[in-house]
């Protein structure tokens, strides 16, 4: 099919303001009489709050108000389990938890006021390791867990706030049939999104009492929801607007300071701004869940997968946040893009007294994929089968089923594997201390809802209202492209209204790689609806048959008498002034089909997920055996996106995801001493820089998905998911050492070369306690 806009890498609609410095981010905004807010945070990982004395701080000139939990309603929020208060109530559960908040006339005074607030704590025993937290005698972090509102039937016990299981077939039988069984335990770490723009918000109360919140967020409707439920304000009285957002990667879906800002604004009746410091981002943000994964894979001698069992323990810190979702989704993806007749995969989401992780590109999938894809190479080595061949042998093909029995028609995994391997010269000769590794990825891109409105303006230009947010990934551009394609209108004549809960219809978040598939479908349907109405109106006005009309160059005309027609401008004016009323195309798209067969599911917090996407990442590494440093010499990242609506955007996601994955695999780690983050700064938390990145071969594979707009599926997350296991597999190939503990630092490689490796006494702990 020949498209006018789809498949073309047009200049992004928001580029100009970003290159000339006029794009406005949250910290660039200010209002008259605006106050600065600062948050006082807990210094203990687990403690009762005995007493808070704010009197000295309140007397500091320039301080307008100080609030604690006593000053606001007792509302709790959370995407799955409503366990998180705006300000700590009764006790604190992690170092960094908000305890009080100050609004003052400037930043310095607000900071000084924090020093003057006296808090008396009574320390409680704390627990930092999730396996310890799962023991029956572990300190209980949420005594009232069963009383919290839960949006799904969560299976809970002690510090386990959610237990998800997926089963198919009969693993007892499966492992009996297997001719080789491999098993091992893997550990992953806390990883920070490190978006360049710190989170922040400004809240103000308008004369009618409505709260307006400007927020650096990925999800204006989620912000609205959390402020509503935590401060007990109806949503009709809350408006959330996002300015240009400087990255999120999942860390800005849930709220960071917005409810606090709103509460301060209410108390002072003045605008209040809070911007997190970089230190607060690291100590009190929503990083990636650490995990401990035990896995067991049974295969036949010829490499056919027969049975798989995994237990994924996710450390969700002091509050659940997206933990149940991460646990559930990571476990759902853990079978991998393969046929495995018998499996039992379980996820445990466990509280500990550390900062609460949340959503981060991959959402549990990087953790379980690290284990899964490593296990496959362990098996392949034992069987002397090429790691590429063993994957190709078991890879899904169109007609196969997902976990949960959905039939998959758009399945590009084999092509991804072949092209990724080719991209690093899989079969070529290797030099000493160099190796190649590959990993497969499966992920989804259809989740929950997006709604859209396409209005034909009076002059025939277009207004597109959609709650989907562009945080840099390019959704504004591709959604505009879709409208341009359906209506034949140039990009410049489409006005995109998105980041405003008052001006755009409901959408869940920019997250879950969903905007191309879910958002694209919604926008396309709304545009088509508008187009049909245009044709109806034109048919009526021209007194012609609708089927004889075509649209070209913003004009609707009779196919065989082209002089007989009406321009969009004319039709827009007619609709607004003469007959019919304004043409408004609409679509409320919810991902509902195909549903999962949930007979093998328990405790899974999502409805259905579709838009399966596949990928494969291959790397060649060189290991310096003297220092332990691992360098990626070349890499290829192949992703099945169905159809690339904007190929340059797709490459941008592949490349950005890969480099983030590189940091995850090799250098980044939030380091704790007990419950305290000891490296909360870019000086000590090192993300990849330009001199160190390999040139990534981005490979776009297109296994057309009929259920997606123009065959397209999503891509936001998978670019990161397979990097760590591909590197671990390449290291195994290079020096024969299996790295099981992320990040793979030079020191760990040296230790492994000397025969010293961290082993998790999984069997002992698990058998003893659970």
């Amino acid at each position: 099919m020949e498209y006018q806009y789809i498949g073309r890498s047009i200049p992004k609609v928001d580029s100009t303001e970003k290159v000339n410095g006029t794009a406005l981010y949250i910290n660039d905004l200010s209002f008259p009489n605006m106050l600065w807010g600062k948050v006082l945070r807990s210094i203990y990982p687990h403690a009762e709050i005995v007493r808070i004395d704010k009197s000295k701080a309140e007397r500091l000139p320039g301080v307008k108000t100080i609030i604690t939990a006593q000053d606001i309603p007792d509302g709790r929020y959370g995407p799955f389990i409503k366990d998180e208060p705006v300000l700590a109530r009764g006790k604190v559960r992690y170092i960094g938890e908000p305890v009080a908040a100050v609004a003052a006339i400037d930043r310095e005074i607000a900071e000084e006021a924090l020093q003057l607030i006296e808090v008396e704590y009574d320390e409680l025993p704390s627990v930092f390791d999730p396996l310890e937290a799962m023991k029956p005698d572990a300190p209980l972090i949420h005594e009232d867990l069963s009383s919290y509102l839960c949006v799904f039937p969560a299976i809970q016990k002690g510090n386990v706030c959610s237990h998800t299981t997926f089963m198919e077939g009969d693993i007892q039988r499966g492992f009996k049939e297997a001719e080789v069984i491999v098993e091992d335990t893997f550990k992953t770490h806390m990883h920070h999104q490190s978006y360049m723009e710190p989170s922040g918000a400004i809240a103000k109360v308008d004369p009618s009492g409505k709260i307006i919140i400007y927020s650096s967020t990925q999800a204006v409707f989620v912000t609205q929801s959390r402020v509503s439920e935590s401060l007990k304000i109806p949503m009709s009285k809350i408006r959330v607007i996002a300015p240009t957002v400087g990255g999120g990667f999942g860390g800005k879906i849930e709220t960071n300071v917005q409810p606090i800002c709103a509460a301060l604004a209410q108390k002072t009746s003045l605008p209040v701004k809070i911007i997190l410091t970089r230190e607060e981002e690291f100590t009190a943000g929503r990083p990636r869940h650490p995990s401990i994964v035990w896995g067991r894979l049974g295969v036949k001698k010829d490499g056919t997968f027969v049975a798989k069992q995994m237990i994924n323990v996710f450390d969700t810190g002091a509050y659940a946040d997206d933990g149940p979702g991460v646990t559930g989704f990571g476990s759902l993806m853990a079978r991998g893009p393969y046929r495995v007749p018998h499996f039992k995969i379980e996820g445990y989401c466990v509280y500990t007294n550390k900062v609460k992780p949340g959503a981060f590109r991959g959402f549990g999938n990087p953790q379980t994929t690290f284990a899964s894809e490593s296990l496959i190479d362990i098996a392949a080595k034992q069987l002397h089968i090429d790691p590429l061949e063993i994957r190709l042998k078991n890879a899904l093909i169109p007609g196969d089923r997902s976990v949960g029995g959905q039939t998959l028609y758009s399945v590009g995994i084999k092509e991804c594997l072949e092209k990724a391997a080719q991209g690093v010269g899989w079969k070529e000769k290797k030099e000493k201390n160099r190796g190649r590794g590959i990993a497969s990825i499966n992920h989804t891109s259809g989740l929950l809802t997006v709604s859209a409105l396409v209005r034909i303006n009076e002059d025939g230009t277009i207004s597109l209202h959609v709650g989907a947010m562009d945080i840099g990934q390019g959704s504004d551009t591709i959604l505009t492209q879709i409208v341009a394609e359906e209506l034949g209108v140039p990009i410049e004549e489409i006005n995109l209204i998105s980041r405003d809960t008052d001006a755009a219809p409901y959408t869940w978040a920019t997250s879950a790689s969903r905007l191309t598939y879910t958002g694209g479908n919604a926008v396309r349907m709304a545009a088509i609806d508008a187009r049909e109405q245009l044709l109806d109106l034109a048919a009526q006005q021209l007194d012609e048959n609708k089927d004889d009309l075509i649209i070209k160059n913003k004009r609707v005309f009779v196919k065989f008498s082209p002089e007989k027609g009406l321009t969009f401008h004319q039709l827009g004016a007619i609709s607004c002034w003469v007959t019919g009323g304004q043409i408004i195309g609409k679509s409320s798209f919810m991902v509902e089909k195909p549903a999962f067969d949930r007979s093998g599911f328990s405790g899974f917090p999502f409805g259905t997920m579709t838009g399966y996407i596949f990928g494969a990442q291959a790397v060649e590494v060189e290991v310096d055996v003297e220092t332990g440093k691992v360098k990626v010499i070349q890499c290829a990242s192949a992703h099945d996106v169905g159809h690339a609506i904007h190929p340059q955007n797709v490459e941008g996601q592949i490349e950005g995801g890969f480099v983030q994955g590189l940091g995850y695999a090799l250098s980044e780690e939030i380091v704790f001493d007990g419950g305290k983050v000891i490296n909360p700064s870019f000086a000590d938390y090192k993300i990849p820089i330009a001199p160190d990145i390999p040139l990534i071969a981005s490979i776009i594979v297109e296994a057309h998905d009929e259920t997606g707009p123009y065959g397209a599926k999503g891509l936001g997350e998978p670019g990161l998911v397979g990097v760590a296991p591909a590197i671990a597999n390449a290291i195994l190939d290079a020096i024969g050492i299996r790295m099981k503990d992320l990040p793979i630092t030079p020191e760990k490689v040296r230790d492994a070369l000397k025969g010293k490796q961290v082993t998790i006494p999984w069997k002992e702990i698990w058998m003893k306690n659970y």
């Binding site: 928001d14 290159v19 000339n20 970089r278 945080i471 390019g474 890969f658 983030q660 870019f682 000086a683």
Partner: protein, 154 residues
């Protein structure tokens, strides 16, 4: 607390200001003059989003006291386009998809300008080195490097 009278030459315009000694150039640019194109990302000179050019060389405006500029010529991102026309680097960044969230972009482009001003045909290694002080989390740097190479060709 004694404010000092200073003059800052920013993008060819001279501003007369009254500042306290501890105000950084970044604060003065953003809050006193209203040029918000230069960003704050970490406040400790590690991330590079506060990069401006001082006499043509990239510096961390979050670590530079405003009173310490003493006559140097400052260029911020707002000063790069001439009479509304985008600079070749800005055009190249757009063409090559080197911008995603845009927060690192002003600092990145100014650092790139400094590279090309010193060496009109830099090697890939020189480009990477010249950009080593500007963190980007979205793009993975690949398209940024390509954009700078393309701008050099112009």
């Amino acid at each position: 607390m004694l404010k000092r009278e200073i003059q800052l030459d920013i993008n060819g315009n001279v501003y007369s200001l009254s500042v306290l000694p501890q105000r950084t150039l970044l604060e003065v640019l953003r809050e006193d003059i209203g040029l918000t194109g230069t960003k704050e990302g970490c406040s400790e000179g590690e991330c590079g989003v506060c990069t401006v050019l001082l006499d043509g060389l990239p510096v961390r405006s979050c670590l530079l006291l405003a009173i310490d500029v003493r006559g140097g010529k400052i260029m911020t991102i707002e000063g790069l386009s001439q009479k509304g026309d985008l600079h070749p680097l800005q055009k190249a960044f757009i063409e090559h998809g080197a911008i995603q969230c845009g927060f690192c972009t002003p600092g990145m482009i100014l650092s790139a300008k400094a590279i090309l001003d010193q060496n009109p045909l830099p090697s890939e290694e020189e480009i990477r080195g010249g950009l080593s002080g500007n963190l980007c989390r979205c793009t993975g740097y690949v398209k940024i490097i390509k954009a700078v190479q393309a701008a050099a060709q112009r």
